[in-house]
């Protein structure tokens, strides 16, 4: 009896001695990342929620109008300028997911099929992804402004490109969209060609032997087999609804016709009334989360069987 106890104790001691350094190791390794995460995720988001119940001087709202900020956000949705902002943002979903992505898919296919100079195309298209957006916008807008390369070209047709970025011409939003397409294509092409490169060669070869036409090959082999990449890029593209702010800001400045949700939040965040952007952000999160999760589930549902 007594020996057993002693034994047990000794064992405990031994285990403790054995465990101790490993426990310390685990704690030390996780200490910083967990702390940082606790502050920058939980801290930030809880504070974000608290902000939505404060007034513009960041004092608590009185209990009878606790949801004033939320009411404001929804009430403002009926105001044309705000409505336009939401619409402007949604355009990026269409642009990213239904224009940039399909076009990239198309380009990626030809590069994958070893079009002449395909490798060079891929590298060059990717160039905008490694340059700061500020440089891209500066170069892009100086092309059109007076003293730019395209200015005299268009001037011959009586078109004044210097006005392309100015409010009221109706062209300014096109300029931002074209810019986003122009700079966004490289990243998509790169990921898609990488996805395509993983398609087993013998599969394509046997399809070719069977006389499958390129169009059939594209739709029935390439797309299903790169579907995981496409899904990822689609979700990324959807997030552009909230994430696009820098391009309109640097190209046109904050104007009604190009303002996005992201830009509004970015601008408001630099002021003092932090309750407004926080509330708008939270409302957007609540709306976007089920949609994004739903779309993800839906996309994963397609070609579910594909796995390689």
């Amino acid at each position: 009896m007594s020996t057993a106890v002693v034994n047990n104790k000794r064992e405990n001691k031994a285990r403790r001695r054995f465990i101790k350094p490993t426990t310390i190791f685990i704690i030390l390794m996780l200490l910083y990342p967990c702390l940082q995460f606790a502050i920058m995720w939980f801290g930030v988001n809880i504070n974000s929620i608290l902000l939505t119940f404060k007034d513009r001087y960041l004092e608590w709202l009185p209990i009878d109008s606790l949801f004033k900020n939320y009411v404001n956000v929804f009430e403002k949705m009926s105001i044309p300028a705000t409505k336009q902002m939401y619409l402007n943002s949604l355009v990026y979903l269409v642009l990213n997911c239904f224009i940039t992505l399909p076009v990239s898919l198309f380009f990626a296919y030809f590069i994958f099929k070893k079009i002449y100079m395909g490798g060079v195309f891929k590298v060059v298209y990717y160039l905008p992804s490694v340059l700061p957006t500020v440089i891209l916008t500066l170069v892009y807008s100086s092309m059109f402004n007076t003293g730019g390369l395209l200015y005299p070209l268009f001037a011959k047709f009586g078109i004044n490109t210097a006005n392309f970025f100015v409010q009221g011409t109706g062209i300014e939003k096109w300029m931002v969209w074209i810019f986003c397409f122009w700079t966004g294509i490289g990243y998509d092409v790169m990921l898609l060609t990488a996805g395509m490169a993983r398609i087993p060669n013998d599969l394509l070869e046997s399809a070719k032997m069977d006389g499958v036409s390129p169009i059939k090959e594209f739709f029935h082999i390439i797309i299903p087999l790169t579907w995981p990449t496409i899904t990822t890029l689609f979700i990324f593209g959807m997030m552009g609804v909230f994430g696009t702010y820098l391009q309109p800001m640097l190209l046109t400045g904050t104007i009604d016709s190009t303002k996005t949700i992201g830009l509004q939040i970015f601008n408001d965040s630099q002021g003092s009334a932090l309750n407004n952007p926080a509330t708008m952000g939270l409302v957007c999160t609540l709306i976007a989360t089920p949609i994004v999760l739903g779309v993800r589930a839906l996309l994963n549902h397609f070609f579910k069987e594909v796995n390689f």
């Binding site: 350094p21 426990t23 190791f25 685990i26 996780l30 910083y32 990342p33 940082q36 995460f37 920058m40 801290g43 930030v44 988001n45 504070n47 974000s48 902000l51 960041l58 030809f110 070893k114 079009i115 100079m117 490798g119 060079v120 195309f121 590298v123 060059v124 298209y125 992804s129 490694v130 700061p132 957006t133 500020v134 500066l138 170069v139 892009y140 100086s142 092309m143 003293g147 730019g148 390369l149 005299p152 122009w182 490289g186 990921l191 990488a194 060669n201 990449t229 990822t232 997030m239 820098l246 939040i265 970015f266 630099q270 932090l274 926080a278 952000g281 976007a288 989360t289 994004v292 999760l293």
Partner: protein
């Protein structure tokens, strides 16, 4: 090895690669094209080529104009400079104003280097630590951590910026400090975590067991065995993170206003009263050149790694 031979070697390698692709295109059954298909490829080639020109030409134009004198540029902004001058570069290099917080381009570049490299170093290291422990050690709360990480990555949080600003300013007092920037960049549970987690998860444990039996401590094992084994994915995520941090606009713009990085500083420079646009062009050229050189040397590494890192989301 002298520089010239290494350059020669570099180009020889490129040429060999091109030749190989060419050979494949000609001889592999996959790339044999007939009739209509050929036409399609020619048309696509032209479209692709035009696209490529649209990416290169504006930058070339900016670079060429940065060698013009201001007066020549104002008269003629299309042709090659008649009189090449480095004046713009000198002015741009020395330029600083209140708008740029009295920082010159070299200081902005310095700040970019500091932030991008130290941020990458810290976040990659922290991610490796977290991923390694969560993947390889049994401990209470492990599944909780992993679950939370997955959860936070799926939820698209919009507009946490105001709260972040308030926290950084009023609680942490790290606003406008380099330390604060690195703190913001130093997250350990993002995409990098997932990538490294899956790597460590698949890593064989036998090697480490052996080391353990030999009496190596956990730290020793981590630093001298596990980390070196993860060199591949670590290089991959470092490259992507580095590019991301180098190009980051929002974080330094908001959290380090008095010491602009190059991504923020060029915008400030464009807003200050420059005597001529050619100076801005020179500044742009100055900042693009190193990026383009690094990119053209490492394009393959960079692009391969982006595809690895970008996909695991």
């Amino acid at each position: 090895m002298s520089i010239s031979t290494s350059i020669k070697k570099f180009f020889r390698k490129k040429r060999d690669e091109a030749r190989q692709v060419d050979y494949e295109r000609k001889n592999n059954v996959l790339y044999k094209r007939h009739g209509g298909e050929k036409v399609l490829f020619v048309v696509m080639f032209i479209i692709c080529f035009i696209f490529m020109v649209s990416y290169i030409f504006p930058f070339v134009w900016v670079a060429i104009n940065s060698f013009k004198t201001a007066s020549e540029y104002s008269k003629d902004f299309i042709s090659i400079p008649k009189e090449w001058t480095l004046e713009n570069f000198i002015t741009a290099w020395k330029f600083s104003s209140s708008e740029t917080n009295h920082k010159t381009i070299s200081q902005m570049l310095g700040m970019s280097v500091i932030l991008a490299f130290s941020g990458t170093l810290v976040t990659v290291f922290v991610s490796s630590c977290a991923a390694y422990v969560v993947a390889k050690y049994e401990f209470p709360g492990r599944n909780l951590i992993f679950g939370i990480v997955i959860f936070t990555m799926i939820i698209p949080i919009v507009g946490s910026l105001p709260s972040q600003i308030q926290l950084m300013k009023e609680v942490l007092h790290l606003n406008d400090t380099i330390l604060g920037m690195i703190f913001l960049y130093s997250g350990g549970f993002g995409m990098n975590f997932m990538l490294l987690y899956s790597f460590f998860k698949n890593l064989s444990w036998t090697y480490i067991e052996a080391a353990k039996i030999d009496g190596a401590s956990d730290f020793r094992i981590f630093f001298s065995i596990s980390l070196p084994m993860a060199r591949g994915p670590i290089v991959a995520i470092s490259v992507i993170t580095l590019i991301g941090l180098w190009n980051d606009y929002m974080t330094p713009k908001i959290f380090l206003p008095s010491r602009p990085t190059i991504a923020v500083g060029l915008d400030l420079m464009a807003k200050s009263s420059l005597d001529s646009k050619t100076i801005l062009f020179a500044a742009i050229t100055l900042t693009i050149i190193p990026i383009v050189i690094v990119f053209s040397i490492f394009s393959k590494t960079i692009m391969e790694n982006t595809s690895v890192g970008g996909l695991k989301g």
